[in-house]
Every structure is written in C-alpha cells, then in structure tokens.
Chain length 359, copies 2
Amino acid sequence: MREATGAVGSAPDFSGWSCPLPLRDHPRVVMGHGGGGALSAELVQHVFAPAFGGPVLAGLGDSAAVTLGGARIAFSTDSFVVRPLFFPGGSIGDLAVNGTVNDLAMSGAKAAYLSCGFILEEGVETAVVARVAQALGAAARAAGVEVVTGDTKVVEAGHGDGVYLNTAGIGQIPAGVDIRPQRAVPGDVVIVSGDLGVHGIAVMSVREGLEFDVEIESDCAALGGLVETMLAVTPELHVLRDPTRGGLGAALNEIAAAAGVGVVIQERAIPVPAPVASACALLGLDPLYVANEGKLVAFVPREHADAVLDAMLAHPLGARAAVIGECVADHPGMVVSRTGLGGTRVVDLPVGEQLPRIC
Amino acid sequence: MREATGAVGSAPDFSGWSCPLPLRDHPRVVMGHGGGGALSAELVQHVFAPAFGGPVLAGLGDSAAVTLGGARIAFSTDSFVVRPLFFPGGSIGDLAVNGTVNDLAMSGAKAAYLSCGFILEEGVETAVVARVAQALGAAARAAGVEVVTGDTKVVEAGHGDGVYLNTAGIGQIPAGVDIRPQRAVPGDVVIVSGDLGVHGIAVMSVREGLEFDVEIESDCAALGGLVETMLAVTPELHVLRDPTRGGLGAALNEIAAAAGVGVVIQERAIPVPAPVASACALLGLDPLYVANEGKLVAFVPREHADAVLDAMLAHPLGARAAVIGECVADHPGMVVSRTGLGGTRVVDLPVGEQLPRIC
C-alpha cells in the first residue's frame, strides 16, 4: 500500500506506478499462492485457466452460473485447511458449510444441496472427526442446506493435518437476478454488511496464543437469508462478494478489475471493531486484508441503495451495515481509499497473504 | 474370504458365521477408513450419517439424485490422494475427472459441469501443478464436461503430498431413468463392462517398482458414453456401480445390502487379464477387491440382458463385457461366488483396503 496525493475526483496521475500484477516466476508453490491475492490470481490466470478453458470459469465469480435441465444453477466449491480446526466462534465444519453457502449467495442463489469430501490424516482421533462432522451438520441445518453426497480419503500421518474438508454446493438462481463482478458500473454504491476482519483475527488469536481483553469470535455465518432480504428490495443488485481470503481489499480489486471500473472507499466509513483494530495494530496487519466469513460487500444501483441498506440494517447479520464508498469511472481497475486526513491511498491487491490457512 | 460348502441355490446355512460388519472401536483413524470397505462404511454409518442426516445421503449411491428448479440432477464428489501423481495410463488429473464423471454416470446422468479444488503442498513444483491441471483439462474435454468453478489452498510442507484434488460434478438425469442400488431384484443379470483390477495394479506396480513382462496401464476412462449406449437399449437398468476402492467385491456387497438381495457370481466368468492375475498372485491380492476406474457393474432385468450386453460389446469401453452372475432371493445381503471346482465361497465386504491411496 502506498500513499498518493491529490483528491480522487481530480484524476490523479498513477502512470509512473509499477504494474500491480507483475508475472512472478515461481518454480515452486509458496504459501502465498493460497492467499487469495495476486499470487493466487496468477496461478489461476497462468496455470488453471489455460488448462481448463471454458467461458464460465473465465467469469471468475465466487460461484459459476450454469444452466441444467432448464434450471439456472449456481455451482461453487471450496476446500478448507484452517488451523486450528476449532476456534472461537466456529470450526472447520462451520466454515465448510458457510463458505460454500456464501459463495452461492453471492450469485443471489439460495444453497440447496452440498457435497462434502473429507481428507483425514491417519492417527487423527475419530472423536475429532465426529465433532467436525457434527459442526458441519449443524451449520447445514442452520443454513437450510442438505448434505447429500460425500467422500472420505485417508492419507498417512505426516501427509495431512488432521482434517481437510471440501464442500461443493448448488442452488437455484432466482429469475431476473444477474449478480456478478462484471456488472459493477460507475454510480453504484458500495455497502458492507458489517464489521470487518473478525474471522481472521479470531483464528489468528488462538493460533498464536494471543489474549485480548475481549475475546474475538469469528463472524462465521451463512448469508443466504441476508441476501434474500436484499433481493426482496430489488433484484437489481449488481455485485455481491464475500471478502474471505485477501479481505475487502482483494474483493474490491477483483471487482474493479472484472468490471473495468474504479472504486473509491472512505477509510473512516469502514466498520472495524476496536478489538480487531488493536489486534491488527499489534500484529502489523491491515484490517482491509484480513479474512471474513460472515460478511459481504454489495455494489447497489444508487436509486436502490437507501432501501437496500435499510433492509440490511433490519437483518441480524446486517445490523452494522454501512455505505463505505462508490464505484467511479476514473482510474479503472483501481481501488483507492480516502484517508481520514483527506489524502488518498491506493488499495492494492495483496500479493500473498498475511494470515495463512485461515479458512 | 472364507470357504463354504454346498451349492448356493440350496440355501446353505450361514447362521453360525460372524457378523460381517461388527462395530469396531477405533479411537483413531487408520488407513483402512479410506479403503471403501467395512471400516469406511462404519465411518459413514456411525459418524457422518448421524451428523448430516437427510434422506438423500441415506441413499448411499455413487451420486445423489436431487431436484432443483424442476430439473432432476445427479450430484457427486470425490477427493483424490493417489500416489504417485502420474502412473501408467493416467494421472491424478484424469482420475479427478473420470471418478466424478463416472459417479454421475452410475445414476444414468451425463456429467455437465465440474468443480475442482486443489490442496497444494508448499514447495511442490509449479510445473507439476501445471501438468496435473493440463491432464485434468484434457480429461474433461474428452469426457465432454466443463470445469466451471474452482479453489486453491496451500498447506505447509509436511502437511500434504504435492497435490490433493477434489472434484464435484452435476449432470441431468434423463426422464424415466431411476438407477440406484436399492432397485436390484432377484432375476437381474449381473454384467461387468470389462477386465477387472487393472487400475489398482497399474498404480501399485509403479509405486512398488514392480516390473512385469507387460506394462499394466490404468483403465482410467469416462463411462458416460458407455452408459448412454446402454440406456439407449432400455431406460430400465436397475443398478450401475463403478467398482473403485474395494473393487467388485465391495460394490456387489453394497448393492446386496442396499437392496436386501443375494448375489451369486461365477468365478470363472469374471474377466481378469493374465498380467493382473499374476501380479495379484505375487502380491497376495484378490482381483475381486482391487480398484478399477474405467469399469462398471450393471444389474439388468433379465429380458433386456442380452441386448444390453450386445450394446456394451459394440462400445470401445465395453469390448470385454461379460455376464458374471445373477441376483437371487436367497441369502439377502450376501454375495457368494461359485468357484471353478464347484464349491461356493462368500465374497465378504473387505474390512480395510489392500492398496491405500489408489485414487
């Protein structure tokens, strides 16, 4: 992140800056390739996309929108390697449900069915596996989604870490709904559904044995109901994104790049709880890049923004929702933040990750 | 496996035998929990099914049949932890496509879309990841399925094994088709699509550095086209199953248990290529329990059996198809094999696995 001068509306000159996404030559995989930032994007762009091809994958949303048997279906997958398996406010089982349910919700789809794949490490206690499975089942019931198919593999001790999980999910996209990163347009209002940085700090605190005055609990939650509430106001939402790995900073950069628009956020408007801000200061982290798992960012047409915000505020998972910025025609592909002092800084796509294995 | 006396049709007395599925008390996960046999079944029965609940999961087919937006959809997932990543005739990328495509085909569904989750180990060469991705993409194109959504996680060195993969897939189930293990009925003819034991021995041979006169290549293939050919004869197929982990022995036991029927197979009718038979003799393995990844076993109503077999024989992936037995009302839940000498042996569900990490 670098400081720039000049107000944004006046088209500052970024031409001398280095390319935000240089092709890095990595002969071997590093932790940052899993961080949801620039290294992850390069792996997708240079390794996976050319190998798999296909127009749907190229959309790069949280989930794919496909048609099958006449139905419009959102389809998504995530693997989960969080360490530790249990943390304040949740577990890998909760993440595995909510992560995929939320990816589907970011297409406006209500998750209907989940698959679940376990990769167990030889020697892990079966009681631990059972606790994970129970958490996963409970989270599925809470989210109104059914686990219908699964698979279990076991690898030798020293080739896993207790339990890795994968879930995939499918859900129907309502008629008239077309939510994807490419639809952001200048004039859209940018809204977040609540406090940022909570999940990442909750996991980090237990992993590193940090103690704060107030225990920080993960915000891990299923956002399908909140999205339904928002869609009841208008099906005309343009973009939804859950800022998981890479945090809000990565999510906004991906949207700006996909739609070829600029994004301006007001630093002071971003809701960050005091304990998270303190922990970030202590750890040298930027809350903009810390992972969340029960939050979303929405790009909403200006004429619907007030009504959508009101609906979010009335929902338990949106009680701390806030307008944090807007979509602009200037500096396409770039996200800038107006600082409290009236300056402007560029919010880059993070390169790797601040906190590995957070989900 | 145990020798029994008496011809099957005359209702032999198995009452003194021990329960084939005692509840085993395993405080920790062992390799056999991933083997597709009795230990895997216990994990599903005692840990996953109670935690997840739900009527669809209880169906225990290779894939789940669900309804979404008015469409009948098959949905399935598998994780892949095969070692080595590349073996004669295929790779983990091929397995990841064909394994899930075949699970869908076992519902009569043609796979349409795949998700793909990578769990990479820090330090694995990016060139290896790229080779896997290319194999996966090529296998998807060969199977006529599109990879539409994916995810990548990275774990520290010493917590993985290069590349683990998960795929999930969806495909439409044709109208009038209802293929599932519960539909086996006495009188059904049991057909396999070709030589058994090839995939498992191919992986094992390279892993253990075994050399045979003839290199054994994995039979890894997508069976969607073969199933389409069979369904063109009649939509009235009762059961399809791809005998992967646990081999034909596990597959037949699962069907017998699900439908509450007996199965009788003729040992001499089972196609096992000579090099596989030799390797099995050398390694002390039973080809009935060795994994396949390009074969299926079908339970077909007697009146359609000849026509279905003819259609299979005319398809490249069914050229060595054979009738191997029948479904009977006697000894429900039990599979027996008539040996070459006129005796009968019980084909038990294997407990763990002969060959770990074969897929």
